[in-house]
């Protein structure tokens, strides 16, 4: 097969454009030196194309490869052999191939690798823009293939792009059917994940100032859609981690890993909590955090497989969340947990710093406890202490020193939720009431366009849980005592005009939430993004079954393959019908058509043309059988042969005219003879027209 001939010139430009388009989104991830090399190679290829440079010799090629490889290894040494390094090597391989690409085979390899590079973009981002970018990239790569395979006047930009776009658009129905119906299977083996970027969101440590700094960010944390009506704003406590170890300044996760990470399922049922009332089901799509925990409302039951619940009822994933994650939960708003607190947990919930400088706070706690009748009364007194003393709720609290609790409670009295939650738990523990800090998010913004709630980083919140004998853990939010509108209306209502709020988000659309139409636009855009994530990016086995159950009812699982086969066949047949239709009826040229009509007339007269009999032989036979037709038949045959096979006859109009005339007369004679013989069908007459 002669497939190794030279590349059409235009095809090369298409391939370069496709490659550039494919590499574009990943360019920023490449180290600058490598990027320079990549662009250099592409530029060199362009110079070769325009005839201003020659192909690199063996020595130069070896030199490039042997400098680029160590360079890559050096650049990525700190990160280990990760995906980034592999991608970088792949890109380098493709651009090196460009330099030695002379034959069709080489260019096809480059084109095929361009498809693979398009896919690699999805490992990093699966947003709508990256989806559209990939679609465009596929169209351009297809255009490159088209350009490679046509070498005529139509190999120009317009015709190539039109055909490529046509091909891609025609493929979309089948793509959709396959996307919806091809069974999704679980990963075959674990893959190295991209090197995590910065961790975002609530962390597993809480030092005063940590959460208020999140208030500066208007980035999305997660989106929730409820089955049925959403709970009221003051109940939207998105519980993350439990922080029960205090070192005098920072709250951390304490206790043994075994206790924390042991799945709640393994514990006896009395620890799992008593659920009451109606549960609420909801569906969460979380933005990547690079952390291993997720958020839900207490008390949650996990309905998706990849999430486990630990002894503190926090929810965890097995691996850091590097992609958007979708999970479903069921929560009971009325519940009781840990009616009998195990000793280990109790001691952790009473832990105090080894070197405690907060003497005034401890004294205050003891005074308040002495004045209270019981633990619940004490909690109420502490909350009213916050309410009655001049405490301020602010996003920009003053810095605190060593004895952070004392300084906050008696000097600065300005704080964000972590100050209130931390000091509250301290006051509980100081008098022997088990208590702990919980971090997570509170509230969210409702989006009416797709019926879901958006939770942003500035919704980050910290609150407290107190364990009462016989009641279990009860949530208290000391922030609510200071700023009740924070709980009822949300942080946006409180801080809208405070400096620093959403400050890190730069020129964000969030800043224009007061302008009606811009705000509507923002909500609409987010709704589209949400729908995309919920129905496309998170489309998996469960969603597939859910969708099929809507269509097929109970037999969804068994009808999946049927539906797949049938819809593929149907789409293919429709495409085939539209692409391949058009008959062979008018295919034969008029000359042949009229000659065949004559043969049909003769057949009606009893002289059918035999299979494989040429016009000349037929003419001889007809002339012999019907001498009276011989002369006309010979003229017709001569003209016919000349018109069909002759050198100059093919296009000659006079010959055609003559042929038509003779044939017409001959047929009339044949027909009249046949009619006399009573052999002709009526239709034969009409065929003459």
């Amino acid at each position: 097969m002669d497939v190794n001939y030279q590349i059409p010139r235009l095809a090369l430009l298409w391939v370069l454009a496709a490659l550039l388009l494919v590499i574009l989104p990943g360019m920023l991830r490449l180290p600058p030196l490598i990027l320079l090399l990549v662009l250099g190679c592409m530029g060199w290829r362009l110079l070769i194309f325009s005839g201003r440079a020659s192909y690199p010799g063996k020595l130069v090629k070896a030199l490039i490869v042997f400098t680029a490889l160590p360079l890559t290894v050096l650049q990525f040494r700190s990160q280990g052999v990760g995906l980034d390094a592999a991608v970088c090597l792949l890109i380098l391989g493709v651009v090196f191939k460009l330099l030695e690409m002379q034959y069709k085979r080489d260019i096809v390899i480059v084109i095929v690798l361009a498809y693979v590079l398009t896919m690699i973009g999805f490992i990093y981002s699966q947003t709508i823009p990256s989806g559209l970018h990939a679609l465009l990239a596929v169209a351009v790569i297809t255009g490159a293939l088209v350009s490679l395979n046509r070498d005529n006047a139509r190999n120009n930009f317009r015709d190539n792009s039109r055909l490529a776009a046509q091909l891609v658009l025609q493929s979309i129905p089948l793509t959709l059917a396959l996307f919806i119906l091809v069974p999704r299977i679980a990963p075959l083996w674990t893959m190295p994940l991209p090197v995590p970027s910065n961790k975002t969101g609530v962390t597993d440590e809480m030092t005063p100032g940590d959460i208020s700094s999140l208030g500066r960010s208007a980035e999305l944390a997660f989106r929730v859609s409820f089955d049925g009506e959403a709970p009221s704003h003051d109940r939207l406590y998105w519980r993350g981690l439990v922080l029960d170890f205090f070192d005098g300044r920072t709250w951390r996760r304490g206790g043994s890993a075994l206790l924390d990470y042991g799945m709640i399922r393994r514990y006896p049922s009395e620890y799992r909590g008593v659920r009451q009332g109606e549960p609420v089901d909801y569906d969460v799509i979380m933005e990547p955090t690079q952390q291993t925990w997720v958020y839900g409302m207490q008390l949650a039951e996990v309905t998706t497989g990849e999430i486990v619940q630990d002894r503190n009822y926090s929810l965890h994933t097995a691996t850091p969340i590097t992609q958007r994650l979708r999970y479903q939960l069921r929560s009971w708003s009325a519940f009781q947990t840990d009616l009998e607190l195990p000793r280990a947990l109790r001691s952790r919930a009473l832990q105090m710093p080894d070197e405690d400088n907060n003497t005034r706070s401890a004294l205050l706690a003891r005074e308040l406890r002495a004045a209270s009748t019981d633990d619940r009364d004490y909690v109420a007194r502490v909350l009213s202490h916050y309410r009655e003393q001049p405490f301020f709720y602010t996003l920009n609290p003053p810095l605190l020193g060593e004895a952070s609790i004392d300084e906050f409670l008696f000097q600065t009295r300005e704080g964000f939720c972590e100050h209130y939650a931390g000091s509250f738990v301290y006051l509980m523990r100081a008098v022997g009431i088990p208590a702990r800090v919980v971090v997570g998010y509170h509230g969210g913004e409702y989006n009416p366009f797709e019926d879901y709630t958006m939770v942003y980083q500035y919704n980050a919140h910290a609150w407290a849980e107190v364990c009462f004998e016989g009641e279990g853990w009860v949530r208290f939010d000391p922030t609510g005592a200071v700023a009740p509108e924070r709980i009822s209306q949300g942080v946006e209502a409180v801080f809208a005009n405070q400096p620093g709020f959403m400050e890190d988000s730069g020129f964000s659309m969030m800043r224009f939430r007061d302008t009606q139409w811009l705000n509507t636009l923002r909500l609409r855009l987010d709704a589209i993004d949400y729908a995309w994530n919920r129905w496309v990016v998170s489309y998996d086995q469960d969603l597939q079954l859910e969708f099929l159950e809507d269509v097929f009812g109970d037999k969804a699982r068994s009808s999946l393959l049927w539906a797949l086969g049938l819809s593929t066949a149907l789409i293919f047949s429709i495409a085939a019908f539209f692409l391949l239709r058009g008959g062979q009826r008018q295919l034969r040229d008029p000359v042949t058509r009229s000659y065949l009509a004559l043969a049909a007339d003769l057949a009606a007269m009893g002289l059918p043309r035999r299979r494989g009999e040429g016009p000349l032989d037929y003419c001889v036979r007809v002339s012999a059988e019907r001498p009276e037709l011989a002369a006309a038949m010979q003229t017709v045959t001569r003209l016919y042969v000349q018109l069909c096979y002759g050198e100059q006859g093919v296009g000659s109009e006079e010959l055609r005219q003559e042929f038509r005339m003779t044939l017409q007369t001959l047929r009339l004679r044949v027909l009249s003879r046949a009619r006399r013989a009573g052999l002709v069908a009526v239709s034969a007459f009409s065929r003459l027209q």
């Binding site: 693979v116 293939l145 490679l148 005529n152 139509r154 091909l167 996307f179």
Partner: protein, 339 residues
């Protein structure tokens, strides 16, 4: 190896028989569902490998959009079947025939490609087995004449093998092809081999007078230098090669009738004689002389002109190939076998 040969022979006969039954010999063929075959190319397989790679990555990284990309590529691949098929479908191929050639040259068969008004056929490749590829695009005109070449080795009537019409358009992932027997034939003359004309027997021709009188028109051969010969006629090149002093002999045969005879090249085998006779037919045809041919079984009286030359050459080509003698027409397929 003999087993392999036997199997491949068995297979190829089967294929030929199948083709003969399903794609019978015709002089004009329209490509359609029953005579177009389609299979992926090596590039197509590479594409499938890339698609598989993307699919596996999509599974392992749980990338919904990568699934989408893989499915888009699968759809493109499947759709490409239709487009490649469409590029051949409804194309009409008419075998017009081939001009006579000399053995060893490439025989050129003319094929007429016709299209339907609404269809275009791009990047078509036509070739005979072992022949060169002829590329054609049927985009603008309703029809296009193309020549497809086939190397020849032996004189006689060359029956064109099945013509391969194929295309990889638009993406090169599939190859659609058809093997058409257009019953084209062409006449292959013997290979001309130059040689001096042995004067000894050249006089055995019929007609008046001897064929060669020394003259100045046509180069005839070399003879040893004799005193008195013109220096202009000395073959200096031969002298330089150390072959002695020779004189170029020219014949002046303006009003002569010349008979080429089988016996002129005695001592050579039949094919070699035919080749030499062929050379001299061509040579004499260019000169201003009547010439005839006398080979066993065929005697053609002297004459001149293109038709005459063709008669002689045909006689040489078809000598002792009796089954073809009645087909002296240079373009046998012109008569057309069937429509």
């Amino acid at each position: 190896m003999s087993l392999v040969n036997a199997v491949s022979f068995w297979f190829s006969t089967r294929v030929q028989r199948w083709l003969a039954r399903n794609v019978p010999a015709v002089s004009i063929a329209t490509l359609h569902r029953r005579n177009i075959f389609i299979l992926p190319t090596s590039h197509g397989l590479l594409y499938v490998a890339a698609t598989t790679l993307i699919f596996i990555t999509a599974i392992n990284y749980v990338l919904s959009l990568a699934f989408g990309l893989a499915f888009l590529m699968v759809s493109l691949f499947i759709l490409c079947i239709l487009h490649t098929f469409r590029n051949l479908q409804h194309l009409t191929v008419k075998g017009i025939g081939g001009d006579a050639v000399f053995a060893g040259e490439d025989a050129s068969f003319t094929v007429l490609l016709q299209r339907q008004p609404e269809r275009m056929h791009e990047a078509l490749e036509l070739k005979f087995p072992k022949g060169l590829i002829t590329r054609a695009d049927l985009i603008e005109g309703e029809q296009l004449r193309v020549n497809v070449y086939l190397p020849t080795r032996r004189r006689g009537v060359l029956k064109a093998p099945r013509l391969l019409v194929q295309t990889r358009f638009p993406l090169g992932l599939w190859r659609a092809w058809s093997m058409l027997d257009l019953s084209m034939r062409c006449l292959v003359y013997p290979t001309p081999v130059s040689c001096p004309l042995p004067t000894a027997v050249s006089n055995s021709g019929v007609g008046k007078g001897s064929s060669t009188q020394p003259g100045s028109d046509d180069f005839h051969g070399l003879r040893n230098y004799q005193l008195g010969d013109s220096l202009k006629q000395v073959a200096w090149k031969n002298l330089a090669r150390g072959q002695g002093l020779k004189v170029k002999q020219f014949v002046d045969s303006s009003d002569d009738r010349f008979m080429l005879d089988w016996a002129m090249f005695a001592g050579l085998d039949a094919e070699a004689r035919l080749s030499r006779l062929c050379y001299w037919v061509l040579k004499l045809a260019r000169s201003d002389v009547d010439y005839g041919l006398n080979i066993p079984g065929v005697v053609i009286s002297p004459g001149r002109g293109d038709v005459h030359r063709h008669r002689l050459l045909s006689a040489l080509a078809l000598w002792q190939q009796s089954q073809y003698v009645e087909r002296l027409n240079p373009r046998p397929s012109k008569t057309g076998d069937a429509v």
